[in-house]
Symmetry: C2
Subunit: 746 residues, 2 copies
């Protein structure tokens, strides 16, 4: 065939008969050896992301009957049900514990905090990075789960200015991941039925559902939870997943509702009707008109600026903390103690700044407040008086938000008290994040935003028709929009929290304005944290300079290849000397006429092969014998960090001289790009299909059959700009306002 093709020659393909089990076809100009190999190739895998990584695994999948498929589907939904059930039970117990523990402040927590630095932070950036394909070690272990739950309860109940939504998302994701991998192998809690879910795609789906369940349980906001998972967390999304996430959060909603029914009969200790966060303060009709729009716009603009400032400061503080914490464990403990003591001093000290106010005659509830939560805290005041700052500070965060959102209380607070509370919340939440154990950002941002909005409402006074509580809701929306930068999900979460759909147009307006304003300064808070933590997050867009490069420009060597039938000692040597996770497999003469790319094999599978010692004594293909030695279980995806290591495998001198037939264990349909492909286009393929490895093949046919492998790290802007420093000036232009001198202050 060589030389027979000219420009307008029509290459005709014969119509081909394919038998059901082995697709044999005549490949022109290939030797019979290749044909033998070829008949085994028959590539079956795929489904969105690489769920089947080798031929063995595929074989098992294909042989499943209807019963197995039914079992798989049932398990899929059952898992979602269990995630929903577990997350809602945990969420409920979390709330129950917080409400009951709120009195026992600063006791449990200070110890917990020092023991669990690993589970610090909200966990949302970690889960988001996982869903993008970055598997940080131990984020979904059973230990992390327990530390997270207990740490979150004690941190929140200690009145530290931290939220429970972030930890709930991480908790939900943990539960989903543990259920998906069939329990914890370490603690011997495994289940055979769950074997279908030991692959990346199914686990990622479950984790997405788990994080949706987390938000749903934290805010009793099922639709908001689904949208949060879709908008903020997931990097890949299919409509089937929407439906499953919806199912999961529906379970959460219904189970929580059942628990509340139980609690209404007063069996839950201090936990009352309003325990689960839900600021149902606006069920009455409110009306607003076109002339209310200008102050709302102003609120949104300032909220956006404040939100981006919040992100900026949080990022800087987090980087300083990292520097301090890196030095020694004592620094870490000292920092945590410092913030904790500082917080408690502030909380006890600040209310003294506010003067006592006389109880209103027409108060709808007891004044001063009897019991734990209420609008009129007595603090140091004489009977018949209350301290308005204490009403905000001496409550759980949920109660503070409820007080700020409440309507008909326009005269309850003094300007100075709300201002002090706003400034305290703004800075305290920044300094609390990243030091103490599990700490969410949602609730602190809502508290801060609500106090900001209430302050604006009070300053406007009679110039506006809207009441101060509504301003607090809109302020919370604007600050959330300015900091988190979500739109639809935040909108729905706020609606579900405040339970009033009539607010919708105003909330949409505020969110749009504040997000737009804040986007002009910097990025989403979770992205900033992810960047500060150094996760290689793969962005959706291709940067402009990527259009000027080809994949050949960024492929770096040396490339490690394996022969279709490879010597054991070679494999061991390569695995020991490199850290690559995938290796191209090549068929060479005499197996084929010229070197041909057969596929790609994973490190984990090679280690399994070495461990099982499925060796051949000669370099001759043996066919299907190898299939019987393995089950798909052997190649199932392990929990994070549970894989075997090459160093643990002992091999004799004799074994080192033997061979392995890699063909049955190779993924014979890898995605490939030609080396002259635009880097931007390759990134889109990599990102949209959700790949881990992308093979680069040569344009000119006479060279080696593979030029290199691209992985996530090759697409990171830092890596590319390191190779081609001149391209820095054509980075992604976000049309952002920059303050170069500001950065130097820190």
């Amino acid at each position: 065939m060589s030389g027979s093709t000219t420009g307008d020659t029509n290459v005709e393909e014969e119509s081909i008969t394919v038998s059901l089990l082995s697709a044999q076809r005549s490949v022109p100009n290939s030797t019979s050896q290749v044909a033998i190999v070829g008949s085994k190739v028959c590539p079956i895998e795929s489904l969105d992301y690489e769920i089947f990584e080798n031929e063995m695994f595929k074989q098992d999948w294909r042989s499943q009957g209807k019963l197995q498929i039914l079992q798989y589907i049932c398990m899929k939904w059952l898992l979602c049900f269990l995630i929903g059930l577990t997350v809602s039970v945990v969420g409920f117990c979390n709330n129950l514990a917080v409400e009951n523990l709120a009195g026992v402040k600063f006791v449990v927590t200070s110890n917990m905090m020092l023991e669990t630095p690993a589970a610090a932070g909200s966990g949302i950036p970690e889960v988001k990075a996982y869903l993008n394909g970055v598997d940080a070690p131990g984020i979904f272990s059973l230990r992390t789960l327990f530390v997270k739950i207990i740490g979150s309860i004690s941190a929140v109940s200690s009145s530290l200015l931290v939220g429970k939504a972030g930890p709930m998302v991480h908790t939900g994701a943990c539960i989903a991941s543990l259920l998906g991998q069939g329990g914890s192998k370490k603690y011997r809690l495994t289940c055979k039925w769950l074997r279908f879910f030991k692959n990346d795609r199914d686990r990622r789906d479950l984790v997405t559902c788990g994080s949706a369940a987390g938000i749903a349980a934290a805010f009793r906001s099922p639709v908001g939870g689904v949208l949060f998972a879709l908008e903020e967390m997931a990097s890949w999304w299919r409509s089937a997943l929407l439906w499953r996430a919806f199912f999961t959060t529906a379970v959460v909603a219904i189970v929580l509702r059942a628990f509340i029914d139980l609690c209404l009969s007063g069996k839950c200790g201090l936990f009352g009707t309003g325990g689960l966060i839900m600021f149902d303060v606006y069920s009455a009709n409110i009306s607003y008109h076109l002339d209310d729009v200008p102050p709302v716009l102003a609120l949104g603009i300032i909220g956006g600026i404040l939100g981006s400032l919040y992100n900026f400061l949080l990022d800087k503080v987090l980087r300083i903390y990292t520097l301090i914490n890196e030095k020694s464990i004592f620094n870490k403990i000292f920092l945590a103690c410092l913030i904790s003591i500082f917080t408690s001093c502030l909380l006890f000290g600040l209310p003294w700044l506010a003067s006592c106010r006389i109880c209103p005659a027409d108060a709808t509830e007891a004044c001063p407040t009897i019991g734990r939560s209420g609008n009129y805290k007595k603090f140091q005041c004489p009977p018949g008086y209350y301290n308005d700052l204490a009403s905000l500070i001496f409550n759980t965060n949920d109660d503070a938000i409820r007080n700020l959102f409440s309507k008909g209380t326009d005269s309850e607070f003094q300007h100075s008290s709300v201002l002090i509370f706003f400034i305290t919340c703004f800075f305290l939440s920044i300094f609390s994040y990243g030091v103490v154990a599990p700490a969410g950002l949602f609730v602190p941002v809502i508290v801060t935003g609500a106090s900001y909005g209430r302050l604006v409402g009070m300053l406007l006074g009679s110039h506006s028709n809207l009441n101060h509580g509504l301003y607090a809701v809109l302020g919370a929306a604007s600050f959330l929009g300015g900091s988190m930068r979500m739109t639809v999900s935040l909108c729905v979460i706020i609606l579900e929290l405040t339970n009033n759909l009539l607010l919708l147009p105003l909330i949409m307006l505020v969110l749009l304005v504040s997000k737009t304003v804040a986007d002009a300064f910097n990025g989403n808070i979770y992205d900033l944290i992810m960047k500060a933590k150094g996760f290689p997050y793969l962005e959706t867009h291709a940067e402009p300079y990527m259009r000027q490069l080809t994949v050949g420009d960024i492929v770096t060597g040396p490339l490690q290849l394996f022969n279709g039938i490879e010597k054991v000692s070679n494999i061991v040597h390569v695995l020991r000397t490199t850290k690559h996770n995938g290796f191209p497999v090549i068929d060479e003469p005499p197996l084929s006429e010229s070197p041909v790319l057969f596929g790609i094999i994973l490190r984990a599978h090679l280690i399994t092969l070495l461990k099982k010692k499925a060796f051949l004594s000669t370099q001759v293909p043996t066919g299907i014998d190898a299939w019987k030695q393995f089950s798909a279980e052997d190649f199932a995806k392990r929990g994070s960090g549970n894989g075997d290591k090459i160093e643990d495998i002992g091999l004799t001198e004799e074994e080192m001289e033997m061979f392995i037939d890699l063909h049955p264990f190779t993924n014979a349909s890898p995605y490939t790009v030609v080396e002259t492909m635009s880097l931007a286009k390759a990134l889109i393929l990599f990102r949209e299909v959700g790949l881990r490895h992308l093979l680069v093949i040569p344009k000119i046919s006479l060279r080696a059959p593979v030029v290199g492998i691209l992985t996530r790290h090759d697409f990171m802007p830092e890596h590319i700009l390191g190779l081609h420093p001149l391209l820095v000036r054509s980075r992604w232009k976000r049309l952002r306002i920059r303050f170069p001198s500001w950065g130097k202050i820190f």
Copy 2:
């Protein structure tokens, strides 16, 4: 380099210096000729879908400064704003017209219906197919837009049982598409500023925003609109699009709110406060407990069965209608008249079946109703009495829904009246769809479901704590879930319609149950209609047999190739004799040492080249001269059906003997797959990246550089199973309940 590579050779890549404008690099073993061509290649395009299809276009894009980018971004948002504004104005006028015209029944419409068969149906399947990549002719023309708007107003106001939501979605998509392509060329309404949007990706994004705006305007449900576009309409989705769709629907929400403010002062004729559909009947607290769950479950199950039955019947009726309509235009008119007359007979005749009921003493409104809309229609009854069936039938659909949803009216209706109304709606909506002019399905399904739910509530009577109006809401939810099969978006739309978030857990439960039950029988109604219309819709999942095939198995010839510098007569011949839209471009000796794939060129671009007569007299590359002859405008995507045709281009004998240098106009970075790639994996690449053409390259390097091109049609199950009929038995198993004998009845 030939022969130098063995299995574990490390192919090392030199680190390469790349200048900013032309990426020159040393390609081993390529002639200097190739190097000349190669320096021009420098592939820049991409961004998700193929937005830049040739080198010229790319050049223009790259040369844009910050100002142009700013202009592009501003235009993008301005367009979304305009879409939102226009759709909400249209939506408002639509409602205004319906409310005002409702009295003038059966007059305007019967004429309209006969004139506009082209715009029949809801339009949602067409828009959905477009967003999947299927461009049906004329669906977004200015003419379709006007016919749709006027037709929808007259159809709805004529009391035919058709909805306005579907036509509003189509209207929104039309407006978006027309704005995106810079107005209508035919009517000389164009705008130069809009030139950035003349490509597939941007137009698709705008159409998505437009369809979200349509639902938002029809139901005053902005969040529901975004989710509808996401869940039901869009085949590709990016979070940036979520944000833009949200912006669009926010504009709709705010503009509609402003109009309502205007109308509250009574300037809108018969259009009252409740004119825009919004069944705000549940703002008071309702409570429900665990023992209410079983009847709600039963409601969901039966609703699911009814919904799937509805889909089944609608599909069959639609197919019968198609058969009738195909025969002659008289059949079409006759059918339309028949349904129209039948509907009016039913509407006037049925209320006589119901007996007069005495007005309740404690009615909250006038009884019998004074004016147009109300709960107690007098019809033929004496004073102090009302006809309950007339209250349902003699109202607009919106008012009928409001009556059914209303609470505190448990004794208003008789069992028999609601049953008659349910049966009438069920069958009348099936027979009305597909005959008359623009007809939505949302409202008929809601009416039918609400009457079904109300009936169940009445049958349960005192056995349930929930009131009948709530049963009607849940019945509507179950019937929607059973027919439309959406989850999150329906849930939000129902919440936004009824304005009560406390219903959320119950609605979620009902939707989950009904969708699950209905999915066991058949598919989503829009998918069924799309299938009946024969659109080549590309599914997300790969069918099992696709894993047993390679792309080589389905590539069919003959393949048409072009040389890098091709003779004009060859191009003209190929364009005249084939209907392909893309052609591989090959560089052959002497331009390169061996035949090399250069890229892919589009038919539309070839026609532009022929039209501009950018010919060379000899087969020698000339470099950059050709760049000056063209602007990016020349290669901009035209409105649907506006492209030039090869038959319209006249060329002299002399010109036919000349050559064209195709290199600058070729997309030099096409996506490629190796012929042994699993078909399932190739489908995922094709689907996720949103391709139109996928090049298949050979595995063995000595053959021609391209084996074939895959397009959408090659991935259609019908095509594949036509080539490999034995694979039929391994089609996608949906584990569905089938009634083989039922199908034969029709």
